[in-house]
């Protein structure tokens, strides 16, 4: 059985916990605390350590899904979890202030995954704020990380089908980057 560890990162309120909830086939492990920053993002609770879920792709490919807290003051959790991650879904809420700059800033905290092309960006809450669009994100990301190709999707983290598409796209990218062994290419 092969395994992937995928990180869900991004600002507070982008939908990381919801995305893992939509995807996970086990009951999600969550670490929510009462949110005292309601003036920043108006939601009752916030993730303070991690979210954890699992999904099986195909017959035997297990994907472990880890969500990290959005606030930078919890970046020690980012450092712990990115060590074991093979890929990353960065979610950005399009109705937050300057979301494109925030996406670039967050990607900059996960440069190993970004530069190896093992990241994907999901724009959430685009039903609330239409602009900026995916091409604005792509242009800014290409400028900040020249030579990398980071796919950008519009997503609704509540929608299992949409999140599955994003995840499968990322996993296909990861699989295509795995070195092919000599045995496999031998006639």
């Amino acid at each position: 059985m092969s395994e992937h560890v995928i990180l869900f990162a991004g600002p507070m309120g982008a939908g990381k916990t919801t995305a893992i909830q939509s995807l996970s086939e086990i009951e999600m492990v969550s670490t929510e605390a009462a949110n005292t920053e309601r003036h920043v993002v108006d939601k009752e609770t916030t993730t303070v350590a991690l979210d954890y879920g699992e999904i099986t792709i195909g017959d035997d490919e297990k994907v472990r899904l880890y969500g990290v807290p959005g606030q930078r003051r919890f970046d020690f959790m980012w450092a712990i979890l990115k060590e074991r991650a093979k890929g990353m879904v960065l979610l950005v809420n399009n109705d937050s202030p300057d979301p494109v700059a925030r996406a670039v800033e967050y990607l900059g905290s996960f440069t190993e995954l970004v530069e190896s092309g093992c990241a994907i960006v999901g724009i959430s809450r685009r039903d609330i704020a239409r602009s900026p669009g995916p091409s604005d994100y792509s242009a800014a990301i290409s400028a900040a990380f020249p030579g990398t190709l980071i796919p950008v999707f519009t997503v609704d983290p509540r929608d299992q089908a949409q999140m599955t598409t994003v995840l499968l796209t990322l996993i296909a990218t990861l699989d295509s980057r795995q070195p092919v062994s000599m045995q496999e290419v031998a006639p």
Binding site: V29, S30, T31, E32, A33, A34, T36, A49, Q71, F74
Partner: protein, 140 residues
């Protein structure tokens, strides 16, 4: 009551409880009272450790220990101990409040004594906070 760390009367009570903890446990190196999501209510002594970082880590560790006890169906977590070569970190929830007490003791302190001092501090906090209605403004 979720923003106690911004309430001056709660901050004063927190500082008082930590001062009493320092008197009770001379081996206390550092202690902080933080909100469930890691914001500082009070800390002591001043200027010794980055309380912002310490508070965020306290919040994460508490939430992880709660997740473990929930997963194993063993009730709520009483306290968390991190025993290291040069000190012990002990943390626990303040009963009835969205607050966590975390304290670093040097290794001269027996773990049992550190635990009983911390518990006493948490109980003292509750006793001092309980009579105050934080929904009302101080002058009303």
């Amino acid at each position: 009551m979720t923003s106690l760390h911004r309430e001056p009367r709660a901050i004063a009570i927190g500082e008082r409880a930590l001062a009493e903890l320092r008197e009770l446990a001379p081996s206390l190196v550092f202690a902080a009272i933080v909100s469930d999501d890691g914001f500082e209510l009070a800390h002591a002594p001043q200027n010794s450790i980055d309380v912002g970082r310490f508070g965020s880590m306290t919040s994460s560790v508490q939430a992880l220990s709660d997740a473990v006890t929930r997963e194993l169906s063993i009730g709520s977590s009483g306290y968390v101990v991190i025993a290291a070569e040069a000190g012990h970190v002990l943390q626990m929830r303040v009963p009835g409040y969205p607050l966590i007490l975390a304290a670093l003791f040097d290794t001269h302190e027996m773990l049992g004594k550190a635990l009983s001092s911390s518990r006493r501090c948490a109980e003292r906090l509750v006793a001092l906070l309980e009579p105050i209605d934080f929904q009302e403004s101080p002058g009303s």
